[in-house]
Symmetry: C2
Subunit: 131 residues, 2 copies
């Protein structure tokens, strides 16, 4: 198996960018995934769905739809909107929303760690210039 010999002779193949992404489905919706987790972080950082959408280069409408989907998928809303604000008003991530993001990030990190060794072997199959 010449291919495997090549793999073994590689100096270091541990730095391949691996991006394990977890998507959690609920009925036909994606309840939580990379984009929604980032949106929650952005809402927490900006206090606003519209500002968070701009930060993520998505339309206000799209940001709202993602928030609506998330809120419908969990036992309680992950994002609360505040009445009275202008242009969409303010918004905040609820304690449940914070917990969901925290657990989601932990799962992402754990999933990535679980395949560290396999990724090193995989990296040796890739074209030079990557490692």
């Amino acid at each position: 198996m010449p291919r495997q010999q090549t793999a073994k002779s590689q100096k270091s193949a541990t730095r391949v960018p691996i991006n394990p992404q977890i998507r959690i489905s609920f009925k036909k919706s994606i309840a939580m995934g990379p984009g929604k987790a980032d949106l929650l972080d952005a809402i927490a950082a900006t206090g606003s769905i519209s500002a968070a959408g701009r930060k993520m280069q998505m339309s206000y409408r799209r940001a709202w739809l993602l928030v609506e989907t998330m809120n419908a998928c969990f036992r309680e809303p992950l994002v609360e909107t505040l009445i009275g604000g202008q242009h969409g008003g303010g918004a905040r991530v609820t304690p449940l929303g914070e917990e969901v993001v925290r657990r989601y990030r932990q799962m992402e990190a754990k999933a990535a760690r679980s395949v560290t060794r396999e990724m090193a072997a995989f990296a040796a199959l890739m074209a030079p210039g990557n490692v």
Copy 2:
């Protein structure tokens, strides 16, 4: 923490659909991901890039672009096209392509197993009707 009590009182929360997806980057391209792995399987099954594209409801052009990206990211092509076929000709997945898909699927499965316990806890935060 009423939320956690609610979580514990759930009968079973282990069947939430989790879909850990791994994307492997190479420079600015995604070298391997869920769509490309499925495309390789479809090419292996149909012996044709165009038939594989139809099976995955993507355009011939898109299927070709995905194949070109994959082939450029690895040490050798993952897909070989056969000269002389009509309308795109035949294609086959190379031994390296088979190895890449196999390793990719193994990583996906291992990543999923690594977060089984966390997913059960996460599921308890989701709206009823999912488990």
